[in-house]
Amino acid sequence: MDYGILLMQQILNGLHIGSIYALIALGYTMVYGIVKLINFAHGDIMMVGAYIAFMMITAFNLPLPIAIIISMASCALIGMGIEKVAYKPLRNAPRMWALITAIGVSFFLETLFTILFGASSKPFPTLSLAPIQIGALQISQIMMISIGLSVFLMIALELFIKETKLGKAMRAASEDAKAAALMGISVNKTISIAFAIGSALGAIGGILFAMAYPQIKPLMGVMPGLKAFIAAVLGGIGILPGAMLGGFLLGIIESITKGFLSAFWPDASLWADAILFLILILVLLLKPAGILGKNVREKV
């Protein structure tokens, strides 16, 4: 067996699932960046996005791109709505309170969709694009779309946050909402926008996920949501390039332990998640603020 090819193939696999983690993690980070909320419902927004696209395609026979746009727009609205109802009242409360509300929202969306669509999975229409063969390597086209999209969106968002006025306002509002208001920044508006962007990103992530693993079900967002959260932390929570890097890394680590390591150590995939978490723990011990995180010391 050619291990080099195997390793390359596994890295490619990792980049694929990683790019989806990255997209979801970007959404996470948008929201986290402004309200410092670990939005446990983000994975479920992703599920909602996938379901909306599914409905658009199967029930209304719309073409995929239009379905994606509708799904993103509706998720943006849903995200803003959730923020208004469930998070805004807790803005001045201790952070862990909002965390619990987020969990509540997550349960709510999961159950609501179970009731609406049933607990069992639905086959999601895939694009049957033939994989591109480069030598012994196979590259699926959906994968290239996912990777390209996540890199593009990361750069666009980073520019938005760092350079635009609105982006700066978001950062200011996240640090000290009251002081930001004294600058004339409408904190409510900024937060709404962050949720809209984050949720729309979640929707894209959900659709790409559904296209790659063509089943959707109400609990589909739980694991990717958790992984995306881990990715965001790994890269340095609140940092957009970090989220993307974390997502890719996570995907690669996963696929290498499961697919490459297991060629030498048959039980590797039994321990895959443990290995993943161990790496995460090691990284955080060496870099307590994540890979790209700056450990800014509190001025005393």
């Binding site: 159950t111 607990a119 069992s120 895939t126 996920f209 079900k217 048959p266 995939s269």
Partner: protein
């Protein structure tokens, strides 16, 4: 609320508990639908012992604590005289302990873990145990598919999957075959490409995938995508997979699995079940639903036979079951596992078709 015991109650109360909201809810719901269908049919025909059957269903969201509370509630508050459930093995085993202690006749439609029924003389099941499926698959692979090499994919967090895999490996080796590759994955995995690379390299005659249909659908799609062409086989968990692959039916084409029944079976009971289920739930009945239906039937028929609602009498009657069911003609062995025939299903043109029937194994 806390009700007083009412011996002269005018209904016969049967309890059930399944995962209706947890991580395996799709299976629990299908099973409980089968149960409900059977009970509704009995009630429509006048019930049993001249009384209507009241089926009380409690959710346990796949949690052992919830299963315990649900069962105790059914017994203590609702005074059920028999119990059907649960779906997955962990909650079923939890309940079986309690049912043995309280001596409530119990039958699980789908709890396949080996030790469950030996917990007490009143614990039965409608499905076959995991090892039996593994052995059947091994036999089928060597005899019918003439397979010499096999690769196994195991969901290591699921005792159903590990149980079948272990038995398959033992039997397959005993028959002279070699297991050339074994890979594990977790219950939450969706990206199987990494492990499939190894399966592809192994290039075995058959690939054994003992898991449930939703995972199978995702897994096998990716397997075909990366160019695995081996024949795939599996257990009863596969029933339902064709629905999940309607968009790309070619991925499961030519696969085989052993099942409790086949839709092609023209026995009246099977055809009635299928049409009634479709009419009631607007969905195809899968093996879970069929087993739920049979479990209910076995319990109710036992009550009918012994003409009593007394636990020991029902248990004895269940032990002596000899009944035509959707999943075949069922009798019980001394460990209260069903002895029934097995259908080998071949997926052809996106449909489950009967390949052959195997005799009952023990």
């Amino acid at each position: 609320g806390c009700q007083k015991a009412d011996a002269s109650s005018d209904t016969i109360k049967i309890g059930g508990s399944f995962d209706l909201t947890g991580e395996a809810a799709q299976y629990g719901i299908a099973t409980s639908n089968g149960v409900k269908l059977a009970i509704d049919e009995y009630n429509a025909n006048g019930g049993v012992l001249g009384k209507q059957i009241e089926f009380i269903l409690e959710d346990n969201k796949a949690s052992q604590v919830d299963a315990t509370n649900a069962f105790k509630k059914l017994v203590d508050n609702n005074k059920v005289i028999g119990f059907i459930g649960s779906d997955i093995s962990s909650t079923t085993e939890t309940i079986a302990n309690l049912a043995a202690e309280k001596n409530i006749p119990m039958i699980t439609p789908t709890g396949t873990k080996l030790g469950i029924t030996t917990i007490g003389p009143n614990i039965f099941r409608a499905c076959y145990v995991d090892p039996a499926q593994g052995e059947l698959l091994a036999k089928f692979a060597t005899e019918d598919l003439k397979a010499q090499t096999a690769a196994i994919m195991i969901n290591s967090e699921q005792d159903y999957s590990t149980g079948i895999a272990e038995a398959f490996e033992a039997a397959f080796t005993a028959e002279g075959g070699t297991v050339v590759e074994k890979v594990n994955y977790g219950k939450n995995d969706v990206d199987f490409k990494p492990i499939l690379a190894n399966i592809k390299n192994a290039n075995a005659d058959v690939v054994v995938i003992p898991d449930y249909y939703e995972t199978i659908a995702t897994l096998i799609t990716q397997a075909r995508e990366i160019g695995i062409t081996s024949t795939c086989i599996g257990g009863d968990g596969w029933d339902g997979v064709t629905e999940k692959t309607v968009n790309n039916p070619e991925v499961v084409e030519g696969s085989y699995f052993v099942n409790h029944y086949t839709v092609e079976d023209d026995a009246v009971i099977v055809q009635d079940f299928i049409s009634n289920y479709k009419a009631t739930y607007d969905a195809e009945p899968n093996a879970f639903a069929a087993l739920g239906y049979d479990a209910a039937k076995i319990l109710i028929e036992a009550i009918k036979t012994c003409e009593s609602t007394e636990a020991d009498a029902i248990t004895a009657a269940m032990q002596n079951t000899s009944l035509d069911c959707v999943t075949g003609h069922i009798t019980f062995d001394e460990n209260r596992n069903p002895v029934k025939s097995v259908s080998v299903i071949e997926i052809k043109e996106g449909q489950n078709t009967l390949y052959k029937k195997l005799d009952a194994v023990k």
